[in-house]
């Protein structure tokens, strides 16, 4: 059951990410990124992270991607032009990314026994468990992030405003 769910949603994740890479129009890329983020929420739930699964749907596939699609529609972004600015990205970038993937996959799979197995429904982190750490041990960082959000809002308004 767990393995079947993992394979379905991991497949959706990878398919969505590849679609993001292959689509030419930014709105198609944005919609496939929403698929990736929603399937990741299911994977978080399989790993027992309840609150983060909900937050992933609300914050990422909700708020952030709506912002992206709004900006794409606002700027009337059309199909991407195929200009080849830098050959270095193709020469060094792709082998680099492939080498990174190969190395990480090799390390993870060769130490697979040490990482252990995930069983469904074990170590469920409820919102209460998370908030106990967040509001007791990490209260100051939490408050600092609220200041960060405030500054980000002000910065976004100041940057996007029309200059006279």
């Amino acid at each position: 059951m767990h393995l079947a769910l993992f394979i379905i949603f991991a497949g959706l994740c990878v398919a969505g990410a590849l679609n993001l890479l292959l689509q030419r129009h930014p709105i198609n890329s944005a919609l496939s990124l929403i698929v990736v983020m929603s399937s990741l929420a299911v994977l978080y739930l399989l790993l027992g992270a309840e609150f983060l699964a909900a937050a992933q749907v609300i914050v990422y596939s909700g708020a952030i991607m709506v912002l992206f699609t709004f900006v794409i529609m606002l700027l009337n972004a059309g199909k991407e032009e195929r200009t080849h600015g830098s050959k270095l990205a193709y020469i060094a970038g792709f082998p680099g990314a492939a080498a990174l993937l190969g190395l990480l996959t090799y390390i993870f799979l060769s130490h697979s026994a040490a990482f252990g197995q995930a069983h469904l429904g074990e170590y469920l982190a409820t919102t209460g468990d998370l908030s106990r750490v967040l509001f007791r041990d990490l209260l100051l960082p939490f408050e600092v992030t609220s200041v960060l959000i405030l500054i980000a809002i002000l910065g976004a308004v100041a940057l996007a405003r029309k200059e006279h």
């Binding site: 990410a17 992270a49 609150f51 952030i64 794409i72 700027l75 193709y90 998370l130 959000i149 980000a152």
Partner: protein, 106 residues
């Protein structure tokens, strides 16, 4: 049951696709979206490692999930500011192609 290593491999795959998309995409919004994809891949790795630590120590450990929470908060702030910068750049240059946006001076 699923080995936690599979989740980590999935995270590596998503991160590598994000890197590749960051390098070959020419639209500034799509480049920004591939950064979000990389952040999501790292979040998955954090949650998988948090689960592994719970298993090793024998009781629930949520520190990895707290990390993901902070990454989400910072990513939301970053998306707001980044998209505002993209709108400002589009107003000044009238293009979204990264090859034509290679000077910081407006």
């Amino acid at each position: 049951m699923v080995p936690i290593a599979y989740y980590l491999v999935l995270s590596a795959v998503l991160f590598s696709i994000g890197v590749a998309a960051f390098l070959i995409k020419r639209n500034i919004i799509t480049v920004f979206m591939s950064i979000e994809l990389m952040l999501n891949a790292v979040n998955l790795a954090f949650i998988a490692f948090s689960r592994q630590w719970s298993q090793v120590s024998g009781h629930l450990q949520v520190n990895g999930q707290i990390f993901v929470f902070f990454v989400m908060v910072v990513a939301a702030a970053e998306a707001a500011v980044g998209l505002a910068i993209i709108i400002a750049v589009f107003r000044a240059r009238n293009t979204l192609n990264v090859d034509q946006i290679d000077l910081m001076k407006l």
